[in-house]
């Protein structure tokens, strides 16, 4: 019977049978889904191993610096397979998200070799890369195992994690260095409380004016609930989700390039129009404590039924649909802010894996990164853990994953498919990213607090940004 199960698993791994057929037949053999999955993983690893000397670094120990995140949990859950396949050991330090990047920045700045690879966001690589702390993964990608299939990774994400290091140069453009490998990502769309929307007889918002109106309607009609949750804390993280997605959709840009120099452009007419509506919407029907709102508060409120909808990461809505008061009531919708826009333009956050330039065993580290960003682990995480959104097309095409999402998160796939084509990083890469976006957030706070009118606030911001760019020779 075991042989039969193994054959089945092999058939599934090589995609000769569908997932549903595989599970059905395994069940007939009396093998539970969990056990079946484990078997699949082992076989997948073996499949991955084909044509590549995975045992080359046997006995080595790779050390990782990781963020406390569902992605990390998924990786750790599957780690034994990597160890078995390579004979390597993996040690990891996991730090809470709140302090994770402080730890990374400090560690890298000391040029220490104790971590071989670590998790990072794409924006951070705009500092770490020029600082000389990261390895350009292009040189390793050429040596990948035959079935690694780098091109399976969504092209927008591959480009968004590659940059030449020239401020203002397009991501993934000429001479771009692959500073990191995409691992998991989130795009920005609307997650809303379907129970309330149904009760009020509303459809998800069509565009920003509509969103503003519906949010106000919820604030008026739904008892004790406010309309729209968006982030507002004094941090770069306030700018990159909903705000920048809508900002871009209105045709505004953060910078313009002129003669190889950057020029602040957030005070363009389009930028002012969008920001004006945005600020107005928050004042009308945003959370009362908006300026302290981070990812966590925005999510909490949606999950606890305190807000009608959010314009934030899709996976935040995904997480809030389980284990919360409103679990099962959360629905998803792609969102293009500008009335009449052709498609949504969600900015994305990409949790990626990067290699420490000071690592003393880079190739061993690469082995782990290759495995962790590979199809097999992506598949495992997407099917069984919260390793969403996957970065590989093959995973999105996987029926097991699609089944699971369609069942527990209705509308999520549709949202994703509508959002995905336009999803990428819309920021102009430059090393002052965090200075400028933090100031941008502070500026928004002042506008919402009525300390400065929107237009004037954006003008002041652009002026200040230009001054800072000039001081480091970027303008």
């Amino acid at each position: 019977m075991y042989e039969k199960a193994k054959d089945l698993a092999a058939a599934y791994v090589s995609r000769r049978i569908s997932r549903r057929a595989f599970i059905d037949r395994m069940t007939k053999l009396g093998i539970a889904a969990a056990a079946a999955n484990l078997m699949v993983n082992r076989l997948s690893s073996q499949a991955l191993a084909a044509g590549h000397d995975w045992q080359k670094h046997k006995g080595r120990t790779v050390k990782l610096l990781l963020n406390k995140h569902p992605y990390t949990d998924a990786m750790i859950a599957n780690l034994d397979n990597f160890k078995a396949m390579t004979g390597m050991d993996v040690k990891y330090d996991v730090f809470p998200e709140d302090v994770y990047f402080d730890k990374v920045t400090a560690t890298l700045s000391s040029r220490a070799s104790q971590y071989d690879a670590f998790m990072t966001g794409a924006y951070q690589t705009w500092q770490y890369g020029p600082a000389g702390w990261l390895v350009d993964m292009n040189e390793y990608l050429t040596q990948a195992a035959p079935n690694y299939n780098w091109n399976d990774v969504l092209p927008n994400l591959r480009r968004s994690t590659a940059w030449s290091g020239v401020p203002g140069a397009a991501l993934g453009g000429d001479g771009a260095k692959q500073w990191a490998l995409p691992w998991g990502f989130e795009l920005n769309s609307v997650s809303y409380n379907k129970r309330i929307f149904d009760k009020l007889g509303m459809a998800p918002p069509e565009n920003l004016p509509d969103m503003k109106e519906k949010a106000a309607h919820i604030a008026r009609e739904a008892d004790g609930m406010y309309g729209i949750g968006v982030r507002g804390s004094r941090s770069w993280a306030t700018i990159h989700p909903g705000y920048l997605s809508g900002f871009t959709n209105y045709g505004a840009r953060d910078f313009e390039m002129a003669d190889g120099k950057l020029n602040a452009a957030m005070n363009s007419p389009a930028g002012k129009e969008f920001t004006g509506l945005w600020v107005e919407m928050i004042k009308q029907s945003g959370p009362r404590n908006w300026s302290t709102y981070t990812w966590y508060e925005v999510g909490n409120d949606l999950g606890a039924g305190a807000s009608g909808m959010i314009f934030d990461a899709d996976i935040l809505g995904y997480f809030m649909n389980g284990n919360t008061k409103e679990a099962g009531n959360i629905a998803y919708a792609a969102f293009a802010a500008k009335p009449g826009a052709s498609e949504p333009t969600p900015n994305v956050w990409i949790w990626s894996l990067a290699m420490n330039a000071f690592s003393e065993q880079k190739e061993a580290a690469w082995y782990w990164m290759q495995w962790a960003t590979g199809t097999e682990h992506g598949m495992f995480g997407a099917r069984q853990m919260d390793f969403v959104n996957p970065v590989r097309q093959s995973v999105w095409d996987d029926e097991g994953f699609r089944d699971r999402i369609a069942k527990t998160y209705p509308g999520y796939l549709e949202q994703y498919e509508a959002s995905a084509p336009g999803s990428k990083i819309y920021f102009t890469p430059q090393p002052l990213f965090f200075n400028l976006t933090t100031e941008w957030a502070a500026s928004l706070q002042k506008m919402v607090a009525d300390e400065v009118p929107v237009d004037e606030g954006l003008d002041q911001l652009a002026e200040s940004v230009n001054r800072q760019l000039a001081s480091v020779g970027l303008r």
């Binding site: 330090d93 730090f95 996976i315």
Partner: protein
């Protein structure tokens, strides 16, 4: 002061009640939260009535916490242990170094004495952030990174100035004649220090040690930057309940309660010394 009228006493009682309410209500509320599910905590409007659950504590003590859809491993009890080791060892080392020094500053006028005392206090001036990154460099070079030893050393920046300056004040309040008498009795300097000076300044030493312990316990930036996840204290550990898939307020509350227990027990044990003051009679000469 004995002849207090009843309305004065009533007024004092009301003041104490209000103050206690202000300081203890949040603690009480957190305690209640620690027995609630996240759903109960995130109710609109908040309410003190709920069905208590021990899940938060169970999760913390077992080291497994069930989040949205998955089980996360946490090491909170290990964090508490780390906090305890770091704080206790730091305070002990600070007492060992600081009490004799405090005695020297209180008893002797010596060349550079005030300068040394001020220098030791000035370590408290340096914002931790200022020295943090250079310190990390040196720690890497010296092999002190990620060691209890290195962290205990750095924690001296927090604990030593506090102990030194508080204890110094208490030594100054002890009459030197008592020690002179003991020396004349034929005891060595060391014995008079250990048997007379230290026991008499004990309330001050206890208060300073407790406060230093609390400050060490509450620190997080040093261990965060200078150590791996193996040596992280509760202050960092408690942040692990803030994850992308949501903030586990119930677990943070339970974590807070658990993290306060060791310090609170210590305070109860030291209560006798803390509140007695230098009440052993006319100590001051």
């Amino acid at each position: 002061m004995q002849h207090t009228s009843w309305h004065w006493r009533l007024f004092k009682g009301i003041c104490l009640a209000l103050i206690s309410l202000f300081f203890l209500f949040p603690i009480l509320w957190v305690l209640l939260m620690s027995f609630q599910t996240n759903e109960d905590i995130l109710r609109v409007p908040p309410s003190p009535f709920f069905t208590p659950t021990l899940d938060n504590y169970r999760a913390l003590i077992a080291g497994e916490l069930t989040g949205a859809g998955s089980t996360l491993k946490i090491a909170y009890m290990k964090n508490i242990w780390n906090s305890f080791v770091l704080s206790a060892c730091s305070v002990l080392l600070s007492l060992l170094l600081g009490v004799p020094a405090a005695y020297a500053f209180a008893r002797y006028r010596f060349r550079l004495g005030e300068n040394i005392a001020f220098t030791l206090l000035s370590f408290r001036f340096a914002p931790p952030l200022l020295v943090l990154l250079p310190l990390l460099l040196y720690f890497q070079d010296l092999g002190l990174y990620d060691t209890y030893f290195g962290l205990i050393w750095v924690y001296q920046l927090i604990t030593l100035p506090l102990i030194l300056w508080i204890v110094r004040g208490y030594f100054e309040d002890v009459s030197p004649d008592i020690e002179h008498a003991y020396r004349i009795d034929g005891h060595s300097w060391l014995r008079s220090f250990l048997k007379i000076a230290v026991p008499l300044a004990r309330p001050g030493i206890a208060a300073a040690a407790l406060l230093a312990f609390i400050f060490a316990w509450n620190n997080f930036v040093f261990a965060l930057i200078l150590g791996s996840s193996d040596v992280q204290p509760v202050t960092v550990g408690a942040l692990a309940f803030i994850t992308a898939s949501g903030i586990q307020y119930g677990q943070i509350a339970a974590g807070l309660v658990l993290s306060v227990i060791p310090t609170f027990v210590l305070a109860l044990v030291m209560q006798r010394y803390l509140v007695e003051g230098l009440s052993l009679g006319a100590v001051k000469g």
